[in-house]
Amino acid sequence: MSKPEFVYTTFIKTTPEKLWHALTDKEFTESYWFGCSLTSDWKVGSRMHMDRGGKVMNECVILESDPPRRLSYSWLTVFDEEMKKERPSRVTFVLEPSSGAVKLTVTHEGFAEGSKTLPSISGGWPMVLSSLKSILETGQPLAFDKTCDAEA
């Protein structure tokens, strides 16, 4: 078992239920995920797709779904021909109550050797998580900077 490539954590002053909704609701994701919307019924084995501006960016399959505690999906970037051929990686979200806040841990692992997807998403998660924290705590997402490469 190889070790995960990325582990990110953030503490958000909210409830696990609201955070789960923020991670899985199509309209809500679009409001902070820099224009990306996530669509699925969030049942294990179901497909999930991440779209931006009507274009599918990532194709995913739900691997674990235990609301409001744990969510995991496979991740295949499809907007790039080379990335599309890679073995899908895996993203896992763990939500843990932590004195009036929720500790959110995001793990992204299982990238193919020499993956092109890996460098393209590595800058994306801190942006998405900061924006998620901002919208849940203040009602405002972070401004989207189009110069950043990011569909994560």
């Binding site: 582990v7 954590t9 503490f11 801190p126």
Partner: protein, 104 residues
Amino acid sequence: MDDVFKALADESRRSLLDRLHARNGQTLNDLCDGLDMSRQAVTKHLAILETANLIATLKHGREKLHYLNPVPIHEIGERWIKKFDRAKLVALGELKRQLEKRDE
């Protein structure tokens, strides 16, 4: 945010973050390797970094792995750097890097 600045205000802790930036997901043994610091000192610094949420830890089999968690640093940037400043700052950073590299 106080925790983040306090944690960053120490050369040894910044060097531990540098090591994780170079190679993510290291054990305590990996991090101690080649460092002129006692194991106890490294453990203490890692605890301070974890409290500030600058590192995330993960149990992987019998090992505890340490990961650089850039989320709080990103939040500091978002607080003071305006959206339109970013491209100029990247250009300035690149200029400094190039010029200083030539002097080496």
